[in-house]
Symmetry: C2
DNA sequence: TATAAAATCTACTAATTAGTATCGGATATT
DNA sequence: AATATCCGATACTAATTAGTAGATTTTATA
């Protein structure tokens, strides 16, 4: 076995484990939130020790930042592969649907919407902020375009629409329905989308 | 000074401080959330020592429970004093407006919507659960009535409406608007209500 | 003013957890 | 097979915080 393939194999294993760590982090974040998530939790789920975990990520802050960056990357990628012929509101609807499905599968943490502390922490993470700004820019354009055609209410300030749109991706109603009603994931997604765009009237 | 008036005076002071403690708890909960709120925080804000705090509430769990019970009592009282001539959807709108104003004034914690741990803790609190059930019963009736008249969408399952309604009381969009837009509280409330009932379309 | 009673605070314990120093064991080359 | 290198785990430190014991001060009455 040559030196090169060996290194590459190790790198591959390293990368694989890194992904497993990020998966675990996303899952634990989704269920317990940032404050209650411990590094021992993550190490335990992945099946490695805490020092090994610190070989990959230098702090809890860093780890969570990377997990969220991966999530936003997912959203950006999802946006990129959408059919360009789709209308602005069609794209917004598709992305929200994607987010709701990810959430219902247990892969979308509430943060950073809920805790100012966590929000501040993330805002110090340059890479995270850049990703968020990129996605936000795309969404702003879609909202503006949809307001122009009247597909979204032109009388509402655009930030009201945008912030409300974001909020729907972490709407606790979805989880309540999953937990306390016997509704299928499909139905929950359908209804949540309907409520997001048309309200409850 | 008679023994009776003295006792009553002491009781009064005790009650006053208890209220101050609950105020502080609600405020700290709203800003930091349950996990980051410490008993020292509360004692510090009120200006008493931790042991004195424990004279009033036997644990953090108990303290938070009482604070939330007081909040729900506020909602129930608000409902009770509404004009009975008001339509079901009028009452729902009024209560949501009340909740949004309380929230924007920093007096409405996110919990229990966000953390399963906190939710579980609260579910063990019988008095809290009873209050919640009482309020929930009233709201269920209002939703059903409003669906019957067509003021709320009759095609949506009633729990979708009810859970969505609850979610709007802790919609992070309100705080984002307060923080990042120059909008007045009045405008934020107006727009949030509009979005809640009519969506963003 | 002196004493009894109550309330309040200072200073502690025990438990948790982020982060690390060091040791033992696996892997690869000679 | 022997040795060098690297990886990971055990077992620690330091800091935080819920909850409490005991000292101290305040208040009320005689």
């Amino acid at each position: 076995m040559s030196i090169f393939s060996q290194i590459s194999f190790k790198d591959q294993a390293f990368k694989l484990r890194e992904n497993a760590i990020l998966d675990a982090t996303t899952a634990v974040l989704s269920s317990k939130g940032f404050d209650l998530m411990t590094m021992d939790d993550i190490a335990g789920v992945v099946g490695i020790s805490k020092p090994s975990l610190y070989k990959h990520f230098k702090s809890k802050e860093d780890l969570v930042g990377e997990a969220l960056i991966r999530l936003i990357d997912g959203a950006i990628e999802y946006m990129a592969q959408l059919d360009d012929a789709l209308s602005p509101i069609g794209k917004l609807s598709a992305l929200l649907e994607w987010a709701l499905r990810v959430r219902l599968a247990g892969g979308m943490p509430f943060l950073p919407s809920t805790s100012p502390q966590v929000r501040e922490m993330l805002m110090r993470n340059m890479r995270y902020v850049l990703k968020v700004m990129k996605l936000n820019g795309q969404l702003e354009k879609l909202v503006a375009a949809a307001q122009k055609t009247g597909d979204l209410n032109p009388d509402l300030p655009s930030d009201v629409i945008l912030f409300s749109y974001y909020s729907r991706t972490c709407d606790p109603a979805a989880e309540f329905l999953q937990k306390f009603s016997k509704m299928s994931t499909e139905d929950i997604v359908t209804h949540m989308l309907k409520v997001a765009f048309n309200g409850i009237k």
